[in-house]
Amino acid sequence: MPNKKVIHRSFFYLGLVIAFSVCVLLVGCGTPVTEVATTEPAEATEGAQPAEEEPMTTEPSEEEPAGTYGESPMLAERVAAGDLPPVEERLPENPRVIDLPGSSIGAYGGDFRDPFVGDSYWSSQMIFMIAWRGLVNWNPTYDGWVPNIAENVDVNDDATVYTFHLRKGLKWSDGAPFTSDDVLFYVNDIMANTELTGGTIPNSILTPDGSTPAVANKIDDETFTIEFNIPYGMFLLKMCTYDGWAFVTAPKHYLEQYHADYNTPENIEKLVEEDENATDWVTLFASKSAVGTGADPAVISRDLDYPTMFPWVYTQEMGSGTQFIAERNPYYYWVDKEGNQLPYIDRIVGTQYQDEQTMLVDALAGKFDTVANTTNEMKATFVENEATSGLILHPNPSEGGGQISILFNQTHPVMGELFSQKDFRIAMSYAINRQEMIDSLYFGQGEPRQISPTEDSPLYNEQLTTQYLEYDVDQANEYLDKVLPEKDAEGFRLDPSTGEKLTIVFSIQKDDYGLRFGDAAEMLKKYYAAVGVDIVIDTITNDELGDRGDENGIEATIFTAEGGVGITAILDPRYYVPNQGQSYWGKGWALYINQPQNEAKVEPPDDIQAHIDLYNQVLQAPTREERLELMGQVIQNAADYFWVIGVSSATPGYHPVSARTANVMDNWIWGWNPGGYAIALPEQWYFTE
C-alpha cells in the first residue's frame, strides 16, 4: 500500500480538524448570544432608596408564645418520620417575627421557578434570595438596619467597639448550633490568618482604613464584640449590604477540619489528597470554604453539605445540567406574626439558559415566576403577553443618580492633561443634546441632569445636579477655544501637544445592563464632531474594560450612574470620590488607593488626596449628622470640580413576578446594596394557587 497516499490523507484530515477547531473557536469568539456575566447587579442596579441610618431598635412584636409554631407540611412529614426534631426545637427562643403592613398569612408549598442566563449562584436569583441575611438587615423600607441573626447590637460612643447579641438557640441548616464561635472563626481564623490571606490584608469591611484587621472577642456563646482600630460609624450599614453574609457563612463545625489550626497535619494531608484542587491546607481551605481570600462564595451551590443560615439551601446542584433546586431550610429562624415558620415557599427551582431571548420566550409561555434581568426594551413585550406569561410587572423606584455617566479619565498618562481642565469638561457637557438622547435611547423617560444625589436625598446638591446642562453648541465652542484653539481644514480640533488632529478613544463595554452605552456613544460622536472633537468608539468586553482599567489605559468611557437615592452616595461614591474600581474618571488615583503595587497608579495631587481623606472621615464618623455634614462637603467638592458628566435622571425599573405570588411588596427598592429581591422579603411570599 502506498504510504505516501496515506500520509497525504492524514494531512488532509489534519487540515479538516484544524478548520473545524478554528470554526468552533470562531463561533465561540464571534457569537454575542452568550454573555458570561449577564447579571451584574453591582454595576447595573446599584444605589437605592432613602437610606436613613437610624438604628431601629423596635422590631415589630418580638415576643411569641412558645410551643405554637406552625411549619410546612413537607417538614411535618419529616418530623413525623423522625428525621427532624419538632419545629419548637428547631427555632431559636425568640425567632425574628415578620409582620409587614398589608401582608397576609400565607400558605405553605410550591416551587418558585426562576430562569437565568449564566451561573447558578451569581446569575440566578439565589444570591438575592439568600445573601442579604447577615447579622443585621436592611429594614423593608431601606432606611435603617434591623436585627436579624443578632437580636441586638450595642455600639460604643466613638464607634470602635460593636457588641453583638445573637438570638439564643439559632441553628445551622444541618441542625448544629450557631454561636459566637462561628463569627469568631470568620473574623479571627479566616480573615486574619496570614497564611490564608497570603500575607496581605484583605480589602474588606473588617479593615476600614486598610491597615489593621478588626478583632473579634467572645464574651459568651451568644455575645461577642468586633473591635476596630479607628472609629467606624458605617459598619452596621455596611453589614446590611452584600458584605454582611460572610460573617454568618463560616460554619466552624464544618470548616475546621480543613483549617490547620484545628486539625492535625496528617488528617489535613489526607483531605488534600482527596481534593482535586488542593495542594496544601491553604488551597484546600480556599476550595472548601465559601468565605475568605480566594474562596468562591458559590461553593454553597455545589457543596450540598455546606451548612448555611439561609432561608433556602441547595439540595440539587446544577453540575453539567441546566437546573438547580434549593429547598427550605428547616432551621430558618423567621416566623410570621402567627408563628408559622418561614419561608412559605418550599423550593426555588432555577433553570439555566444560554440565551436571553430563549429565556424570554419561555417566560412569556408562562413557565416562570419571575425574570430578574429585565431591560426597558423588554417591558412592552411583558405587558403584551401578560395573559400567557402570568407575570405582573412590579415597578421598582429608580435608584441611581442618573442613567449613564460620561467619564473622561483625568489621570490618563497622555490625555489626562487635557481632560483635567475643567473648561474641557464643561464644553463636553454643553455639547450634548440630552433631551434627544433621552427621547431616542430611554423612551423619553427622564429629565436632563448631572449625576448627583436625588432631590429627596439629604445629600441633594442643586449645583451638582443642574450645572452645564443646556444644549448649547456656542458655549461649548467658546469653552473649547480656551483649551483647544487650533483646528484643521475639516474643522476638527488639534491636539496642542502634537499639533495633530485630536482623537479621543471611548472604550465602551459591550455588556451594557440595558443602558445602551453603545448607542449613547454613537450619539456623542455626532455631538462632539459638531464642536470639532473627534471620538472613536472601541467596543470591548467587561474583562477588557477591567484589564485596560488596571493598566490605566482607558481614555474615556460611558458607564452606569450610581449614587442617587438617600445615602447611597456614601455607600457607593464611585462618581464623587476616585476610590472605586469603576471610578474611570480618576482611575489612576483609584489604583493608587486600591492597588498600591500597580505600576500604572497615579499619585493623587494634594487637593484630591484631601478630598479622599474627607470621604474616609465620613465612613468613620459615629453619628448620622456628622456623616451627612461631611458627605455634603464631599458632594460640594464634586460639584466644584465637575469631574463626571451625566445625561439623564434614572428611569424607573420594573420586575415581573407571577400573579400567583402573594405578599409581594409594592415599590420595593431594587439594587445591589438593598439586595435585589432580598429587601422585599421573599421568605414571606407565597402562592395563591
Binding site: 496515506v6 463561533v27 497570603g198 455545589r302
Partner: protein
C-alpha cells in the same frame, strides 16, 4: 483490509498529537488565563478588587503557570496516563466529568440529526433526479434552497416564536422539565426525550438535508444517462431494481465520503442551536469554556471531538471501500 485499517489507526496517533498541540496553544492565544478570568468574573460580580499579587497567589495555589510546553506535557500526560482531563476553572469541576456528563446527549442529538438527514435526503434526492423538472422536483428544490439559505439558529428562533404565538408553548430544551432531565434514565425519561428531540433534530439537520438533496440529485442525474443504464434498461430490468442496483450505488460515493464532514459540521452546528434552544448538550458549555479560556475543559472537548472526526473519517473510508470495488482494489 485489516492491514489498511490498522495502518490508518496508527497514523491517527501523530495526527492527534499535532491536533492536541494546536488546541492547547490556540485556546491560550487570547490574553489572560483561566485564573484571571475566574477572578475577573468574581470582581464584576461582587465588586471586589483584586491586585496582581492576589492573582499570582491564586496561580501559585493552583499550580498554573510556567512555560507553555511544561503545561502542555502536564496536561497531555495526565490525560494519557490517568485519563484525567484536569480541573475546569469555569465549571469548578473535573473537566472529565463535565465532558462525560454532556457527551451522551450531544451524541444522541447529533446522530439523531444525522439519521434524519440521510433518511430524508436520500429518497428525496433520488426522486428529484428521476423525476427531474416535475412539480415534486420543483417543490423540493424550492424547499431545499430555503433550507440551505436559512441558518439553523434562525430556524430555531423562528420555531420558538411560532410556538409561543400559535401554541402558547415553547419548544426549548430536550425534556419537559429540569427535574426529568436530571432524573436517572428510565423508560419515562426516554419517552419524554423522544417527545422533544425531534425539533432540534430537524433544526440541526435541515441545512445538511438540503445540501445532501442537491448532491444526490446532481450525482444521480450524471449517472442516469450513462450507457450502462441504457444497457441495463434494454435488457429489461425493472426501473426500480435498475435504479437501486446501478446508478444509485455510483451516486452514493460522494454521499458516503460526505459522512466524514457531516459529523463535525453537525456537532458545530449543534453548538449554536443548543444555545438558542437551551439544549443540555456540550455546545453551550464548550463555548463558555473557550470564552473563559478554560483550557482544560475546552481542550478536552475539542480533543474528543477531533478524535470523533478522525474516527468518522476512517469509517467513511471503510464504507467507501466496501461500497465501491474500484476504491477497494485501487488500494
Amino acid at each position: 483490509m485489516l492491514k489498511y485499517i490498522l495502518q490508518r489507526l496508527l497514523y491517527m496517533i501523530p495526527v492527534m498529537f499535532v491536533i492536541s498541540i494546536l488546541i492547547f496553544v490556540t485556546i491560550q492565544l487570547p490574553p489572560g488565563d483561566p485564573i484571571s478570568k475566574m477572578m475577573e468574573n468574581q470582581r464584576t460580580q461582587i465588586n471586589v478588587q483584586f491586585s496582581e499579587q492576589d492573582l499570582e497567589m491564586m496561580r501559585a495555589r493552583y499550580g498554573y503557570g510556567g512555560p507553555l510546553h511544561e503545561q502542555y506535557i502536564k496536561w497531555i500526560g495526565n490525560i494519557l496516563l490517568h485519563g484525567d482531563f484536569g480541573y475546569s476553572f469555569y465549571k469548578r469541576e473535573a473537566a472529565g466529568k463535565v465532558i462525560a456528563d454532556l457527551m451522551p446527549l450531544t451524541l444522541v442529538v447529533s446522530i439523531g440529526s444525522f439519521i434524519f438527514t440521510w433518511v430524508v435526503a436520500l429518497p428525496i434526492g433520488v426522486l428529484s433526479a428521476v423525476r427531474q423538472y416535475s412539480i415534486a422536483d420543483h417543490i423540493f428544490t424550492f424547499i431545499g434552497f430555503i433550507g440551505l439559505a436559512i441558518p439553523n439558529f434562525l430556524l430555531a428562533l423562528i420555531l420558538l416564536v411560532l410556538g409561543l404565538t400559535m401554541f402558547q408553548t415553547s419548544f426549548t430544551g430536550l425534556f419537559s422539565s429540569g427535574e426529568i432531565q436530571q432524573a436517572p434514565w428510565s423508560l419515562a425519561k426516554v419517552g419524554d426525550l423522544l417527545k422533544h428531540i425531534w425539533i432540534p433534530m430537524i433544526v440541526i439537520g435541515m441545512g445538511g438535508t438540503a445540501g445532501l438533496i442537491r448532491i444526490m440529485r446532481a450525482n444521480l442525474l450524471d449517472e442516469l444517462h450513462k450507457p450502462y443504464v441504457e444497457a441495463a434498461r434494454a435488457r429489461g430490468l425493472s426501473e426500480l431494481r435498475l435504479l437501486i442496483k446501478y446508478p444509485i450505488r455510483h451516486a452514493m460515493n460522494p454521499f458516503v465520503s460526505g459522512f466524514a464532514y457531516l459529523l463535525p459540521s453537525l456537532v458545530a452546528g449543534e453548538a449554536i442551536v443548543a444555545i438558542v434552544m437551551n439544549l443540555p448538550t456540550e455546545g453551550p458549555v464548550l463555548l463558555n469554556a473557550l470564552l473563559n479560556l478554560d483550557v482544560f475543559l475546552g481542550g478536552g472537548f475539542l480533543l474528543i471531538l477531533s478524535l470523533l472526526t478522525l474516527v468518522s473519517t476512517l469509517l467513511s473510508d471503510i464504507l467507501l471501500a466496501w461500497l465501491d470495488p474500484r476504491i477497494r482494489y485501487g488500494s
